[in-house]
């Protein structure tokens, strides 16, 4: 068995070497396909990063009345934190809110002067809530408006919840994000299907050229496995070489993008590529080998039954 396997692998390598231009043409096409896959991985990273940035900018704030006791606010905070949709709740006390207000309006002299004249803190404390998903803000807001869900009597200390003011913006953002994700998936699927079809046809053409030889091998009494094996090994070799080529090609491309486009893209694509290199390499390698092997298996099938 090991002897047979060794012969098949050996024949695959020899065939690859002797087929010369045909082998390299197939490698080129697989390289293009794998480059599309690598490009899609990087584009997804940019898209996800951008969407994450947008998501992080969305939140809901509960403003409390000026005389709301801190104990009540903290117990409300705890009960909100227990909600599964909630990612993070941050508390800003009335004093901190005032300090932040002063800082924000430090250039606005009349406002600061008016604040000094009041001589007491007109601002209440507030809780800032970030949900895990943008789509979950509505359910959090609904939860907050239902008195039973909160700590008894807490609705009396809530001045306002700004979700209802931001509702339109949040809903619009939510539909943009899910639209962008769906579009990204469809574009990915389309590109992958096109690339796979082109690769399959190229490998099919390479095997079509060898169809006479396949018939001869069967006539001299070679088993289907013995005939099929070297073509499958050749397919795997296309995948491995194409993986090496495509990952090498992306090295300078991502370096250039990282150097020149980081501000525009919002993420340093070179850093992303380098730090995730082994995962990307593994995905591309497995895709390349699977593409080569499956294409060879499918292409040779019709010539074997003779």
């Amino acid at each position: 068995m090991m002897n047979k396997l060794r012969r098949v692998i050996n024949a695959g390598f020899i065939n690859f070497k002797r087929n010369g231009l045909i082998s390299w043409a197939s490698v080129l096409v697989v390289t293009v396909t794998l480059s599309v896959i690598t490009g899609i991985i990087l584009l997804q990273a940019i898209l996800n990063f951008s969407l994450e940035q947008i998501k992080n900018k969305v939140d809901v704030t509960i403003y409390f009345t000026v005389d709301a006791p801190e104990v009540k606010i903290m117990s409300l905070k705890e009960s909100i934190e227990k909600l599964p949709e909630v990612a993070e709740v941050t508390y800003t006390s009335a004093d901190e809110a005032l300090a932040l207000f002063r800082e924000r309006h430090s250039d606005d002299y009349p406002t600061i002067q008016a604040l000094d004249e009041i001589n007491e803190n007109p601002l209440g404390a507030y809780l800032n809530i970030r949900a895990k998903e943008v789509s979950q803000y509505e359910s959090i807001a609904n939860f907050l408006s239902s008195d039973d869900a909160l700590v008894l009597g807490s609705s009396s200390i809530i001045d306002k919840v700004n979700y209802h003011q931001n509702k339109v913006v949040i809903e619009r953002l939510n539909s943009i994000i899910s639209g962008a994700q769906k579009l990204g998936f469809l574009v990915t699927l389309f590109l992958v299907i096109i690339s796979v079809i082109i690769t399959f046809n190229t490998i099919r053409l390479a095997i079509f050229i060898a169809k006479e030889e396949i018939g001869v091998m069967r006539l001299v009494g070679a088993s289907k496995m013995r005939v099929r094996g070297p073509f499958v090994v050749e397919g795997a070799i296309y995948g491995v070489i194409a993986t090496i080529l495509s990952t090498l090609i992306f090295w300078p491309i991502t370096a250039w993008l990282g150097h020149n486009m980081t501000n525009f893209l919002g993420v340093n694509i070179y850093d992303y590529y380098v730090s995730n290199f082994f995962q990307i390499f593994l995905i591309v390698l497995l895709s390349g080998i699977a593409l080569g092997v499956v294409s060879s298996l499918l292409a040779i099938r019709r010539y074997l039954n003779r």
């Binding site: 030889e213 091998m217 006539l219 009494g221």
Partner: protein, 226 residues
Amino acid sequence: MIYFNNVSKKYDKDSTALEDVNLTIKAGEFVSIVGHSGAGKTTLAKMILAEEKPTTGSICFESVDVHKLKSKDLTKLRQRIGAVFQDFKLLTNKTAFENIAFAMEAVGKSDEEIMNDVPHVLELVDLQNKIFHFPHQMSGGEKQRLAIARAIINQPEIIIADEPTGNLDPVSTYEVIQILKKINDLGTTVILTTHNRGVVESVGKRVITMEKGKVVRDDKDGKYVI
């Protein structure tokens, strides 16, 4: 050994390759099948290798209908038959050595056997100097001798030679026929299809004559008569 029972082959309504052929070929025979182009000689040869299926009738190798064999058993059957063709059917990407080694690998011979036997068989067909040549670096006669070497390497029970001299000059034709005769002398059944009168008469053994898909003559020690 080989039995053709009422074998007919029709490609379509107007094209009949074989019509009601009944034949028996015994072990150790040298049978020449002769006839004009299109007489059905090649179809007959292909049917023994199960390359072509009969429309009606059956072809039996010993007691087994070759067209009812499963893929695995058909592979085993083909390992017992050596085939030589007019267009050589060599593996163009492999050297002379590798072409023969491939046939040996197919039947599961060890590396040691391959290293020992391949140079011997190449010497037998006078190709010892072409061991690492590819088919495209060889003449027609050399290619055919290589094809014969490949056909005999596993000591098959039958050699089917389908117009093996069709593309060869008279000297190469003579050499190929001498090799086939020698193989037959050693006990292997040889089935030769040809339309070369000189070849048939130099063999001087059983001759089956075909015309328009039918067997019209079957002569022991026959001659080419059409």
